[in-house]
C-alpha cells in the first residue's frame, strides 16, 4: 500500500518529448487512470513508474522512497501488459506462481496463494493449460492473477482490455474494478478509451503530446473540461464545438445565436453536449438543415452542419425526420462551455 509521487518527470528521446514535466501525487489506494490518444505519453509515464524506462528528469517516489535507481523488481509493483506477457512455456499455475518463485517466497505458501489468486479471477478450471490454449479473456485473467498473487504495493495496467472483444471488455472491466476495491492497492491504469476511464477511475489524468491537459474526478472532467482537447476527447459523442464570436453576452456563428452567456467579448469556441440539447420544431438557438440522422435505440442522434463543424443533439427515440429537413436545437445557456479559440483554454467556469 503506497502513495506514488511523480516530481517534475520528463522523458525525452533526442528532440522528441515523450512526457513533459509531469507532476502528480497518487494517493494510497487510489485508482488513477491515465487517458489520452496514442502517443500522448501515458504508457511512457507508467513504464517510468514500473522502472522499464528511465526518466530524463525528475523523481519518482513510491511509498516514501525514491525509486529512480531501483530495478523494476525492487520497486514492488506488478504490471499487466496489453499483450498479456504470459510465459508461453509454463502452464497457468506456473505463470501465476512465477513471481513467488523468483522472489523466493516461502514455497510452502505458494499453493495457497496461487489458488487464492486464481479463484479471484475464476481461473481454477484452466490451471493446467498453456497460455496458447486459452482465449484472450482467459489470458488477460491469468495476467491479472499473476499481478495480484504477491500483493504488491502498486498495480500498473497498460491498456489491459484493448485486445478483448466488446462484450468481454465490459465484464473484465467490472472484474478489475471489483478487484481493486477488494485488494485496496494503489492502481495506475492506462487507456485510450474514455469509457473505461469514466467507469474505473477515482481520478483521471487526461494527457496529450506528453502534457497533462486536466486532472480531476471523472465528473469534473466530464462536466467542466479544462480545454477543447479534453472536451472533444471525453464523452460519446464528444462535446460539440462551434467557433464564433461573443459580443455583449451573445454568441453568434452561422445558423447560431445564443444569448445570456457571461464572458468578455471576442472570438470564442462554444461547447455543449448532445444530451444537454433538445431538438424542437422551431425557435431554438441553432437552426439548420439535418446533415444526418442516427438511430441509437435509446435515442435518435440528429447532426447539423454549421460552418465547418458538425453539431449533434440527442432527440427522443421516436423522433424521425428526413435529411435536409430544417430543425432547430435548443441549447440552455447554462449548459454551454466557452473556450478561448486561440489557446483552447476554458473561459470562466
Amino acid at each position: 500500500m503506497a502513495e506514488i509521487q511523480l516530481r517534475n518527470i520528463s522523458k525525452r528521446w533526442g528532440n522528441f518529448v515523450g512526457v513533459d514535466s509531469f507532476d502528480l501525487t497518487i494517493a494510497d489506494e487510489e485508482f488513477l487512470v491515465l487517458l489520452g490518444p496514442s502517443g500522448c505519453g501515458k504508457t511512457t509515464t507508467m513504464r517510468m513508474i514500473a522502472g522499464l524506462e528511465d526518466p530524463t528528469e525528475g523523481e519518482i517516489i513510491v511509498g516514501g522512497t525514491v525509486v529512480n535507481n531501483l530495478e523494476p523488481k525492487d520497486r514492488d509493483v506488478a504490471m499487466v501488459f496489453q499483450s498479456y506477457g504470459l510465459y508461453p512455456n509454463m502452464n497457468v499455475y506456473e505463470n501465476i506462481r512465477f513471481p513467488l518463485k523468483v522472489r523466493k517466497v516461502d514455497p510452502a505458501t505458494h499453493d495457497e496463494k496461487v489458488m487464492k489468486a486464481a479463484a479471484m479471477v475464476e481461473l481454477e478450471p484452466f490451471l493446467h493449460r498453456k497460455p496458447a490454449e486459452l482465449s484472450g479473456g482467459q489470458r488477460q485473467r491469468v495476467a491479472l492473477a499473476r499481478a495480484i498473487v504477491r500483493q504488491p504495493q502498486v498495480f500498473l495496467m497498460d491498456e489491459p482490455l484493448s485486445n478483448l472483444d466488446a462484450k468481454l471488455r465490459v465484464s473484465t472491466r467490472a472484474q478489475i474494478k471489483n478487484l481493486s476495491h477488494e485488494l485496496k492497492v494503489t492502481t495506475v491504469y492506462v487507456t485510450h478509451d474514455q469509457i473505461e476511464a469514466m467507469t474505473l477511475a477515482d481520478r483521471v489524468v487526461v494527457m496529450n503530446h506528453g502534457v497533462v491537459q486536466q486532472l480531476g474526478t471523472p465528473t469534473e472532467i466530464y462536466d467542466r473540461p479544462a480545454n477543447t482537447f479534453v472536451a472533444s476527447f471525453i464523452g460519446n459523442p464528444a462535446m460539440n464545438l462551434v467557433e464564433g464570436d461573443l459580443k455583449g453576452g451573445t454568441f453568434t456563428a452561422p445558423h447560431t445565436t445564443i444569448h445570456g452567456l457571461d464572458a468578455p467579448d471576442g472570438p470564442v469556441t462554444l461547447g455543449f453536449r448532445a444530451e444537454d440539447a433538445t431538438v424542437v420544431a422551431e425557435g431554438g438557438q441553432i437552426t439548420a438543415p439535418i446533415y444526418t440522422l442516427e438511430l441509437l435505440g435509446e435515442a435518435t442522434m440528429v447532426s447539423l452542419k454549421i460552418g465547418g463543424a458538425l453539431v449533434s443533439a440527442k432527440a427522443d427515440k421516436s423522433f424521425r425526420a428526413e435529411i435536409d429537413d430544417t430543425v432547430s436545437i435548443e441549447v440552455p445557456a447554462d449548459h454551454c462551455h466557452l473556450f478561448d479559440t486561440k489557446t483552447g483554454a476554458r473561459i470562466g467556469d
Binding site: 506477457g85 510465459y87 512455456n89 523468483v102 500498473l156
Partner: protein, 293 residues
C-alpha cells in the same frame, strides 16, 4: 471428401506426382549410389570396362565370394584408424557448437534488446565477415599459427571455426530473439527477475527450438568444413572430411579409394540420424511462430 472443384484433373495429378518421384530419385541418387558402391571393390565401383559392374558386383564376387563386401569399411576403420578422425570431428563439433551457441545466444539477445543504432552496424559487419570465403582468412592465420607453434592442433581449429561461424549464429539467434515480444522480458523483470534471470528463466526456454536449430547449423558447418580443417590440422589430428580427402589422394594401392567411399557413408549416416532426431525442433525453429504468448 474433396469437392470436384478443388480436384485437379487426372493428367495433372499424374504429372505432379510423377515429377515429385522423379525429383526424389534424382536428389537421392548420389547417396544411394555411394551407399551401394561402398560394399563393392574398386574394380567394380570404378569399373572402366562396364559400369553395370558397380550394380552387379562381378569383381567383388570373384574376390570375396559374394557381391557385397565390408572390405572398404574394414580398411578405413581398422587399417587406417578412421575412428580417430571421428573422435576428432566430434571434439571439434562439440566445442564449436557450445562456444558459438553461448556467445550467439548472449550476443543475439543483447543485440535484439538494445536500443542503440550501432547494433545494426555491428550486425552488418558480422554479415560482411560471414560473406568472406573462409580460405581467405586461413592464409592470414597460417604464418602466426606456425610462429606461435599452435598449428595442427584441435583448439586452434575450433577457435577459427567459431570465428567463421559466429556471425551466422549471431544473425540467426538475433532474429529469433526479435520475434519474442519484449513484454516477456519486461513482465519477468516486473515479476522479480534480474535481466539475466529474465533471460535464463523466461527467454531461453521459449527460444529452445531456435537454439537447437542454430546449434544444428553450426554443428553442420564444423562437421562439413574442409577449407579450415585441411589447412590447419596435422595428419594425426585430422577430422573426417580432410581424412576422406586424404584417402582419395592415395591411389597407389588398389582399394584405398574404397576406404574413402566407405568413410563417406560413415560420415553421412550420423547426419541423417541427427536431423531425424531433431526434426520437430528444427521445423518449429525455422517457422518460429511458436513463441507467441
Amino acid at each position: 471428401m474433396a469437392s470436384s472443384a478443388l480436384r485437379a484433373p487426372l493428367s495433372l495429378r499424374v504429372l505432379t506426382k510423377g515429377f515429385i518421384i522423379f525429383w526424389l530419385i534424382l536428389a537421392a541418387f548420389p547417396f544411394i549410389w555411394t551407399l551401394w558402391g561402398s560394399f563393392k571393390v574398386e574394380l567394380d565401383f570404378f569399373s572402366i570396362a562396364d559400369w553395370t559392374n558397380a550394380l552387379t558386383g562381378a569383381n567383388t564376387e570373384r574376390t570375396h565370394g559374394s557381391p557385397f563386401t565390408g572390405a572398404g569399411y574394414e580398411g578405413a576403420w581398422v587399417q587406417e584408424e578412421f575412428w580417430r578422425s571421428v573422435i576428432n570431428t566430434f571434439i571439434v563439433c562439440f566445442f564449436v557448437v557450445c562456444t558459438s551457441l553461448t556467445i550467439g545466444t548472449l550476443g543475439g539477445y543483447a543485440l535484439s534488446r538494445s536500443g542503440y543504432r550501432y547494433t545494426f552496424w555491428l550486425l552488418i559487419t558480422a554479415l560482411i565477415f560471414r560473406a568472406m570465403p573462409p580460405i581467405t582468412l586461413v592464409s592470414g592465420y597460417l604464418l602466426p599459427f606456425f610462429e606461435w607453434n599452435v598449428w595442427g592442433i584441435l583448439p586452434t581449429t575450433i577457435i577459427v571455426l567459431v570465428a567463421i561461424n559466429q556471425p551466422f549464429t549471431l544473425w540467426m539467434l538475433h532474429s529469433f530473439f526479435q520475434n519474442i515480444p519484449k513484454e516477456l522480458d519486461e513482465s519477468a523483470k516486473v515479476d522479480g527477475c534480474t535481466q539475466f534471470q529474465a533471460f535464463r528463466l523466461v527467454i531461453v526456454p521459449v527460444m529452445w527450438p531456435g537454439v537447437i536449430t542454430t546449434g544444428l547449423f553450426s554443428f553442420l558447418l564444423a562437421y562439413n568444413d574442409f577449407a579450415v580443417t585441411s589447412m590447419l590440422l596435422s595428419e594425426s589430428n585430422r577430422t573426417m572430411v580432410p581424412e576422406i580427402a586424404a584417402f582419395l589422394g592415395t591411389t597407389q594401392t588398389e582399394g584405398n579409394v574404397m576406404f574413402a567411399v566407405a568413410a563417406v557413408v560413415s560420415a553421412t549416416a550420423p547426419l541423417f540420424v541427427l536431423v531425424m532426431f531433431f526434426q520437430r525442433q528444427i521445423v518449429s525453429g525455422l517457422t518460429a511462430g511458436a513463441v507467441k504468448g
